[in-house]
């Protein structure tokens, strides 16, 4: 039963959209709470701010609906309050996977209404999805939408009002309606016709029920004929909506029928809807018909429709139904250029469609990564001098490009009030840094951050601070900008970057919001590009808050120990004791140890007892477990993989500072000699391999020479433990057995031996 056309207009496009737009997620894990310093697939939350024009630094990796909004603001257009709400609704529908498919409430509404009729049996179970038939038997479709149940409930109330709830004919009405809805999930349940002498209203209702049953049962030609017949029945209350339902039947036939008749059915549906729109008599159906027509045209004339939508979306006032049009537009774009980053390499749509309309051209060009797109962006900027194309061109060129200077000059003219100000500044600064103009970039960034800091959202601020870190003139300077406040926290199990709500943060994570930490770019410099000498200075630098200094200090002290630099290790002891007081007794043993070998074993013993210590500075939220406790996810001692060059790419990793050569990603205050030392030190650390192997070897060597050291049995026990809870490799089993054998053969009956019943093969 489908009279409530106004309500139906959204359900159908949504269903259509699902055919193309369902998110492809495959969550694995386990998932830690990630710190997100700058959002990359959508802007920072709350999205209302972005919809209102707080655009910040636009990332080409944003979903296209966000790029459309940026385009409009860059062009000087805006959105009304209603339109902004429509945008936010669309984004949340997509990000939160809201789907209006098979909402139980609508079914409940009908079942509640049904109970008002006396003498009917138990309500049947209604399933709204129906499985398709061969050769499409693996997919289903939403057969009965919410409006069907709502209309049935409304109609039943009206009939109760007319005939009374205990009328026998009404009972038959309900039974027939049960049959109609039985088709939602399977089979052919068609109510029988009513005798000619039945009350006209009930008889015409039954004809409508029979047509609807055929529609839901997939008998589209029959349903079409019956709806056509109802449309010409002057006595039927369903006469006005029947022509629209003919069109819906044709659209359903196109969606689910054979491929070869798809176009023909869509063509017929288009014709039928145009007929409705020219009929004054059918005016109540016009809005719904328009909506359905746009869906039909979306499928029948996708290129034409993409163009129409682009024109409408880019118009000054924007379309009347922004949410639906933007939804359709982005769905169509996905069809033409792919629904994820892979599209950058293969654009399947005919070029003319993708470049005829400025908004589409801009979005597609901004997201493309090839030289052709760069040249096109430059040509469009030359031709239009528009802000969107200035941003696109700036984003795509490298510092060697002949137009770089002109583009940067144009960017510099943008007022801070321009929605493109942050993006243009960021891209212009990127070119400066890449060209080696560090001093200029530093001055400009300092000015920018001083005058406009408050106007940048955290994602933008972090991107700018990342640039500022690269042009640091001193260690103080570097440490100031290396630490940043994350723009959000997310479990990000499927790449949607959904920020975790306050209640989703565990008790151990409550402290995180507002606290600074190191992003991966800072971690890369700290861990690979700074020598021990500079790290040691960083450990004592009060620009770092205690929680970061604590991590830097433990990492540096351990590095010094592992690299055999006792002077640095000893110098760090007071700071380390102050920041990690629980280490004090072990550090005192280090201090009192007589010779280098004894000092090293004292450090190794301490490290065995504090699995959270590692010669690597953490990025993001870091290790959540206490320093002296085992981490359940084996984030204990160190992982050799942390020290190796990355061999794989993690999906979702983004590099917004693209185009800056690797050599320019080391701050200039680090001298050539310091860089060389850092490389050497790093190579030594990387050569140690898996921590459990290294630790076991150290303990066995010490134990062999100092068998009476009372710490040895416990150290051997802990060495075996590292092979269970640490990052292992294929040599680990050998070391585990060696430590185990040593303990059991030399110290039988010792309490630590008793506590070590196994060694671990892998």
């Amino acid at each position: 039963m489908n009279r409530n056309l106004r309500k139906s207009i959204f359900a159908i496009p949504l269903l259509f959209a699902f055919f193309f737009q369902a998110p492809v997620t495959f969550a694995c894990g386990p998932f830690s709470l990630d710190a997100i310093f700058s959002f990359s697939v959508h802007p920072e939350y709350p999205l209302e701010k972005y919809a209102a024009g707080d655009i910040g630094i636009v990332q080409p990796s944003y979903a296209r609906s966000y790029l459309f909004v940026a385009y409009r603001y860059f062009n000087g257009d805006s959105f009304s309050q209603t339109q902004q709400q429509a945008l936010v609704d669309l984004w949340h529908d997509r990000l939160d996977l809201r789907w209006d498919a098979g909402d139980e409430q609508a079914v409940k509404t009908w079942l509640t209404a049904r109970q008002k009729v006396a003498g009917i049996g138990e309500p049947p179970k209604i399933e709204v999805f129906r499985n398709r038939e061969k050769p499409n038997e693996y997919d289903s479709y939403l057969n009965c939408q919410n409006d069907a149940f709502e209309t049935a409930a409304t109609t039943l109330d009206a009939r109760i009002g007319k005939f009374g709830a205990d009328n026998a004919a009404l009972k038959q009405w309900v039974e027939a309606q049960d049959q109609v809805f039985a088709n939602c999930s399977e089979g052919q349940h068609i109510p029988s016709d009513m005798p000619a002498d039945t009350d006209t209203l009930l008889r015409t209702d039954r004809q409508y029920q029979i047509a609807a049953a055929n529609f839901y049962a997939g008998n589209f030609p029959v349903a079409q004929t019956l709806f056509e017949s109802i449309a010409s029945d002057a006595k039927s209350p369903w006469r006005a909506s029947a022509p629209y339902l003919v069109a819906r039947t044709l659209l359903r036939k196109a969606s689910l029928g054979p491929e070869e008749t798809k176009k023909e059915s869509l063509g017929e549906a288009e014709q039928q809807l145009n007929k409705i729109l020219t009929s004054l008599e059918l005016k109540p159906s016009h809005e719904a018909a328009k909506r359905l027509l746009s869906i039909v045209r979306l499928r029948l004339h996708p290129e034409e429709r993409l163009h129409e939508l682009a024109v409408s979306l880019a118009s000054k006032s924007g379309p009347a139904n922004l949410k639906q049009d933007l939804w359709d537009y982005t769905v169509l774009l996905d069809q033409f250029v792919g629904d994820n980053e892979a599209h950058h390499q293969k654009i399947t749509g005919p070029p003319t469609v993708l470049h005829d309309d400025d908004v589409t051209d801009w979005i597609v060009t901004l997201q493309a990564k090839d030289a052709e797109a760069r040249d096109h962006a430059l040509a469009r900027w030359e031709a239009t001098s528009s802000v969107p194309w200035l941003v696109a061109a700036l984003s795509k060129i490298d510092s060697q490009n002949a137009n770089a200077s002109r583009l940067q000059q144009a960017a510099a003219k943008l007022p801070p009030s321009s929605p493109a100000f942050a993006t243009a500044a960021f891209q212009s600064l990127r070119l400066d840094i890449a060209a080696g103009r560090a001093a200029d970039a530093r001055t400009e960034l300092d000015d920018l951050l001083q005058k406009h800091r408050a106007s940048f959202n955290l994602s933008s601020l972090n991107l700018l601070q990342g640039q500022r870190m690269l042009v640091s003139s001193s260690l103080d300077d570097f440490l100031t900008f290396a630490q940043r406040v994350p723009a959000g926290f997310s479990y990000n199990e499927d790449g949607r970057e959904l920020p975790a709500d306050a209640e989703e943060l565990g008790s151990e994570s409550k402290r995180l919001p507002g606290e600074t930490s190191f992003d991966s770019d800072a971690g890369e410099i700290l861990n690979r590009r700074l020598p021990l000498e500079l790290l040691s200075q960083a450990a004592g630098n009060k620009r770092l808050p205690d929680h970061l200094r604590r991590d830097v200090t433990q990492a540096t002290w351990l590095r010094a120990v592992l690299l055999g630099d006792q002077t640095t290790a000893s110098a760090l002891l007071p700071t380390l004791k102050a920041l990690v007081p629980e280490l004090t007794p072990f550090l005192n043993e280090y201090t009192t140890a007589r010779d280098p070998a004894a000092k090293k074993f004292a450090a190794i013993y301490a490290w065995l007892k504090f699995p959270g210590m590692e010669p690597i500075v953490d990025t993001g939220n870091g290790r959540g477990t206490a320093l002296n406790e085992q981490d359940s996810y084996r984030d204990n001692w160190w992982c050799s993989a942390s020290l190796a060059e990355p061999v794989t790419t993690q999906a979702g990793e983004k590099t917004p500072q693209t185009g800056i050569p690797a050599a320019k990603k080391i701050p200039i205050f680090v001298t050539a000699a310091q860089r060389a030392t850092a490389s050497r030190e790093y190579a030594v650390l990387a050569s140690f391999g898996a921590a459990p192997n290294y630790l076991s070897r150290q303990v066995i060597e010490w134990a062999t020479k100092h068998p009476t050291d009372p710490r040895v049995p416990e150290a051997l026990h802990l060495a075996v433990k590292t092979t269970r809870f640490g990052c292992t490799d294929k040599q680990t089993g050998r070391w585990s057995k060696a430590a185990y054998d040593f303990l059991h053969q030399r110290y039988p009956g010792n309490t630590w031996t008793k506590q070590t019943p196994y060694w671990f093969k892998d």
């Binding site: 386990p30 998932f31 139980e104 499409n136 693996y138 709500d501 794989t648 990052c727 294929k730």
Partner: protein, 289 residues
């Protein structure tokens, strides 16, 4: 007649023998001996049969799973046209249903995206279970029962040889999933295999998968979160997974290439983009399948 009290040192069979000895009528005694013998024979035969059946089931399960193609493409919720694949080399594990556990409810959504395969393709129907964030699930018995029943329906789809359940379970949720899988196993036809996707940590150093009524667990070597560094270095070092259900298969993704493909009998491959003949060929080459 003496009464026999079964004590721990006096087996029940001995008590029965004493009881029979005390029967006065010879015929009745004979009849009872015959009845007892027959019962013992049936018990023994039934027990043997059950042991045999269990052995046959296990053997036939492992034989059925080994008949699956050695490479399986995951076809997630998007239109996929896979009628070009060689069914002898490749099978398809398609997302067939998503189950949302929401407060005390189970909301079930079937696959809405078209999937084209040839009729002789080995199919694995995947059910993804999502816990709702705004309305966390109660994880009640009723919820596991309803979810298991929903998933079991997938076993009825054509050519479906195995049902695979994809879920994330924290330690506190394991009891719920153990129950769900047990109920699911009971609901599925005996000939339908049962698989789960697994975190790498479940397969190494964690034994909660042992004893689950499953035919395989597929450790996922992608989107690994905090475990990534550790497990990838182990896979690169050629180490296998220790948990029994995890030993024969692994899951990888085309956008997270591994330096060394895992040496497993069955490799599941996920692609974040639509599968094409070129993408399949490239995957087969890169994973040396």
């Amino acid at each position: 007649m003496r009464f026999c009290r079964t004590l721990s040192a006096q087996p029940a069979v001995h008590c029965l023998a004493l009881f029979i000895q005390n029967l006065s009528q010879h015929r009745l005694r004979l009849a009872l001996i015959a009845l007892l013998s027959a019962s013992l024979f049936f018990l023994a035969a039934f027990g043997y049969q059950r042991r045999e059946q269990a052995h046959v089931n296990k053997a036939s399960s492992s034989s059925r799973i080994s008949q699956l193609p050695t490479t399986i493409l995951w076809a997630w919720e998007r239109p996929e046209k896979l009628d070009f694949i060689d069914p002898k080399k490749l099978g398809v594990a398609f997302l067939a249903r998503t189950i949302y556990l929401r407060a005390d409810r189970v909301v079930s959504r079937p696959r809405l995206q078209p999937l084209d395969v040839s009729s002789d393709t080995a199919m694995i129907a995947v059910a993804r279970i999502e816990s709702d964030r705004p309305a966390p699930p109660t994880l009640s018995s009723e919820q596991s029962k309803v979810a298991a029943a929903e998933i079991a329906e997938l076993g009825k789809l054509p050519n479906v040889r195995m049902v695979q359940v994809d879920f994330d379970a924290t330690v506190s949720e394991r009891a719920f999933y153990r129950k769900l899988l047990t109920e699911l196993r009971g609901n599925l036809p005996p000939s339908t295999l049962l698989s789960i996707t697994a975190l790498a940590s479940w397969c190494k150093g964690d034994n909660w998968l042992e004893g689950l009524p499953i035919d395989e667990a597929v450790p996922m070597l992608f989107r690994m979160g905090v475990e990534r560094k550790q497990f990838l270095s182990q896979v690169a070092a050629g180490e296998g997974f220790t948990s029994t259900p995890c030993r024969a298969s692994a899951g990888v993704s085309t956008d997270e290439p591994l330096t060394e493909p895992p040496a497993v009998q069955r490799l599941y491959v996920f692609s974040p983009t639509v599968w094409s003949p070129e993408a399949v060929e490239q995957m087969m080459n890169s994973y040396k399948r």
